[in-house]
């Protein structure tokens, strides 16, 4: 897969996060992956922390259709309109930005734009972004609908995939987390257990 692939478009935005509607149904970037959107000259980076698929219109809930179908695929074959009536969205926590070529690991001065294109970051960009672990403090401290431990470990696992030495990367991240969560052993352990399997 082309890692700089355009995956969707911003449909909701705020200082701390943006919501993206995927161009392809059921094709959000993996949980924890690094994505970006631009409001030139600023590129805003975010970590995917939540994805969902549902009806395009809030008042129309999908109904069960497959009772008499042989396969799940047949449900979509028999109702071709479904692909046009459902949408996949993903939420992204803003963890940094790039301006004038320089990378920052804190929030930009203003949010991204609605309809801004959203790209999945190239491995080189992910490597560059993960040279500093400053984004970890944002990941472990922001209130999210899913546990911060899940998202932090998912982000580190995703980032480790593009490192020359994934294990060394995760060990370094673990050390950084030990400093950040020194007083909260249970949370630290929860994250370390989740990245130990990577």
């Amino acid at each position: 897969m082309d890692k700089t692939e355009r995956v969707g478009e911003v449909i909701e935005v705020s200082t701390a996060e943006f919501v993206t509607q995927c161009y392809e149904l059921y094709q959000p970037p993996p949980l924890g992956s690094l994505v970006k959107t631009a409001d030139m000259p600023v590129e805003v980076y975010g970590i995917v922390y939540y994805a969902s698929t549902g009806s395009l219109e809030p008042g129309r809930r999908p109904i069960a259709r497959g009772k008499d179908e042989a396969s799940e695929e047949a449900v979509y074959q028999q109702s071709p309109q479904l692909l046009k009536l459902l949408r996949t969205e993903f939420n992204t926590l803003v963890v940094g930005y790039r301006e004038d070529g320089r990378l920052y690991h804190h929030l930009p001065s203003r949010p991204a734009r609605i309809h801004g294109f959203v790209y999945q970051c190239h491995p080189d960009e992910v490597r560059e972004f993960s040279e500093s672990f400053d984004f970890l403090s944002t990941l472990i401290s922001t209130g999210l609908p899913v546990s911060n431990e899940e998202i932090t470990s998912a982000a580190l696992r995703q980032m480790s995939l593009v490192q020359e030495d994934p294990r060394a990367f995760l060990v370094a991240a673990g050390k950084e987390l030990a400093v950040l969560l020194g007083s909260d052993f249970n949370r630290l352990r929860a994250i370390l257990r989740r990245i130990a399997t990577a």
Binding site: R60, I63, Q78, P80, Q81, L82, L83, K84
Partner: protein
């Protein structure tokens, strides 16, 4: 103060009690009507002649074949396409700052088979030019007609049909398709307007689109039909009324006043859908009938409207088709099979029409937003945005 339901509740109770008391009598009339339907079906030719020769103030279906004939749907095809359009509009509001109306047409194309696909889209069009707001006679004689209210509804039907014909023209040669409209193919309301209105909307509009769709059938099979859910028509029951009447031919203006027997009253109040609910099994369609509406007789020509009733499982629907679909066995079967299939896929209502409606619908919130956009753009251009005191009063309520 909104509606005081506590004051209405007692009246609703009375209405329901009346309905309950009348239900046994209605049932008896329906039983009788079903009996007459089967009985009169046996002697088709004399009845056909009597119906054709009679003059009635109520609409009587033209007969094509035995009254109680019924047909099962042909097997479903492997590859086919269903097209549908539906419309919604924002009417002219004389209390608002700008005189204009909006028609929003929803279109749907559903392709079934090995490569399923769907197109769902909407086409809102704002009409605000002087020529858009009225229909003027070609000659200077006659008063121009404002396009609003019922006339806007008819114009919307024409737009729905135009979009449907446009979509149909894009269907590949060799395709099998059903093009569906919601409601009747008979533009009833035109009877209330002068001839030049009919000329523009029907002859130069709706029927031209029907012409276009008919011509497409030289290289593909496209059946055109309209679907009426829970129809309240009684054209076929009225055939039974004519059949029961001792007068032959019947002239209601002349005979009914002096009639004492009133045999036709034995079936009065019954509607066609109730009759065919007793006759048709799920998936079956009724015999074909023809519309005898005056607008059809006068203008429709080769598009003369035929109709049949269809048991779609949950209800009896009325399907209207032009004569060229009715007389082509393949197109007729295609219509029957695909309408049933669409209803099965759509929880009892054709899925293509239901999605076209979803594309077209203009909600109350949309209406308010639309007028806000109109007002704000006018303000930006420093144009006055006068509204009536009545409209202001409704929007700014006080004690």
């Amino acid at each position: 103060m909104s509606l005081d339901l506590s004051k209405v509740a007692a009246q609703v109770g009375e209405m329901v009690a009346r309905l309950r008391d009348g239900s046994r009598e209605r049932q008896r009339r329906l039983d009788y009507a079903v009996g007459v339907l089967h009985e009169k079906a046996a002697a088709l030719d004399p009845l056909k002649k009597k119906v054709a020769a009679s003059r009635t103030t109520w609409l009587v279906a033209g007969l094509v074949e035995g009254l109680d004939r019924k047909y099962k749907a042909a097997p479903l095809l492997a590859e086919f396409t269903v097209l549908a359009t539906d419309g919604s509009h924002i009417d002219v509001d004389r209390h608002r700052s700008a005189r204009c109306y909006l028609i929003n047409i929803g279109i749907v194309l559903l392709r079934y088979g090995a490569s399923p696909d769907a197109v769902l889209d909407s086409f809102p069009h704002l009409y605000a030019g002087d020529e858009d707001l009225v229909i003027a006679p070609a000659q200077s004689t006659g008063r121009e007609q404002l396009i609003e209210g019922n006339l806007l509804g008819i114009k919307r039907s024409v737009d729905e049909c135009r979009h449907l014909a446009g979509m149909a023209a894009e269907i590949g040669t060799g395709s099998l398709a059903l093009a569906l409209l919601d409601g009747s193919l008979v533009l009833w309301g035109l009877e209330a307007y002068p001839e030049f209105v009919t000329e523009e909307l029907l002859t130069g509009g709706f029927l031209t689109c029907l012409d276009d769709m008919k011509k497409l059938n030289s290289s593909r099979k496209i059946a055109l039909a309209s679907y009426i859910s829970y129809p309240r028509s009684a054209d076929v029951v009225n055939v039974l009324r004519v059949a029961l009447c001792p007068q032959d031919p019947l002239d209601t203006d002349r005979h009914c006043r002096e009639c004492t027997q009133r045999r036709c009253e034995e079936v009065s109040g019954v509607v066609d859908r109730e009759l065919f609910a007793r006759v048709l099994e799920a998936g079956e369609r009724s015999a074909l009938f023809t519309s005898q509406s005056s607008v059809v007789r006068k203008y429709y020509g080769e598009h003369w409207i035929n109709f049949f009733y269809l048991n779609v499982g949950d209800e009896i629907a009325r399907v209207e088709i032009p004569q060229w679909v009715a007389r082509d066995g393949d197109l007729l079967n295609l219509t029957h099979t695909l309408v049933i299939d669409q209803c099965q896929r759509g929880q009892g209502y054709p899925v293509a029409l239901s999605e076209a409606h979803e594309q077209a619908v203009v909600t109350m919130v949309d209406r308010e937003n639309f007028w806000q956009v109109v007002d704000s753009l006018m303000v930006e251009e420093h144009l006055p945005t006068p509204t009536s005191a009545k409209s202001q009063s409704k929007r700014t309520r006080w004690v």
